[in-house]
Symmetry: C2
Subunit: 121 residues, 2 copies
DNA sequence: TCCATGTTTCGAATAATATCGAAATATTGC
DNA sequence: GCAATATTTCGATATTATTCGAAACATGGA
């Protein structure tokens, strides 16, 4: 994933309402939730909700599938993975990181839990 | 971490220039880089760079430490961890996720690599 | 066909953010 | 103290995002 699309996805999540929508869908799991139910739970006006759903879908973080009158939205977990991988990629120059935070029992020397640099094969 | 501060951090990363700065600091590791070097590598005007550095620092994603005339900025890896943990928290209702993407050799049934739900203890 | 329901599009007001030149601040070496 | 360097603050402008009422667009059932 390039910086531009990663930034677009992060920007999409960088809004309280959209983050709430995304989190709701992540917690809901692959089954998804229809638009009306999302709006009801988050107390959003239909037009506002639609605007944010379209934004999240445009950047690939969620998908909408029409089922009769309803549209089921669900999180795109692969996209979330890509985004997280992008953030931590080549951390600390790809070498085993210097320890800056205590991680668990001290057997782990990575700078951060999410950091993948210098991983044992 | 609450939704508001997570959204603020994601919004901070949701800008091409700031994401480039943050990624540069993540790759640089705990040692950090001074402001001038960042601006030189990314081709940013001093005022613009300062604006973005201040933004990232305000939301806690980076830290700046003054060393003589220079200010060494470094990524806050703990903050990055928190943010990633927030995104994946209680995924799929906290139950073992349904598999929606193939993960490695198929022994993993999580919906996504980053998902922590239903983890074995 | 007609109505109710679920969702999106349009439009327009409001608000927030990004950019960067120029000036200001801080530090160091001479 | 003065000049050079590193960085920030100020100020003004341009651009983009957010909100939501009202209208439009499907779909399904009577």
């Amino acid at each position: 994933m390039e910086t531009l699309s990663a930034a677009e996805r992060l920007a999409a999540l960088g809004h309280e309402s959209r983050l709430a929508i995304f989190r709701l869908l992540v917690e809901a799991g692959p089954g998804g939730v229809n638009a009306g139910a999302i709006g009801e739970q988050l107390g959003m006006a239909p037009a506002t909700l639609s605007f944010h759903l379209a934004h999240l879908a445009r950047v690939g973080l969620i998908k909408g599938q029409k089922e009769s009158r309803f549209i089921h939205y669900s999180a795109d977990f692969a996209a979330m993975d890509e985004l997280i991988a992008y953030l931590t990629r080549n951390c600390c120059q790809g070498e085993a990181c210097l320890p800056t935070v205590a991680v668990g029992d001290g057997t782990d020397e990575r700078c951060t839990a999410a950091c993948t640099s210098g991983e044992r094969e």
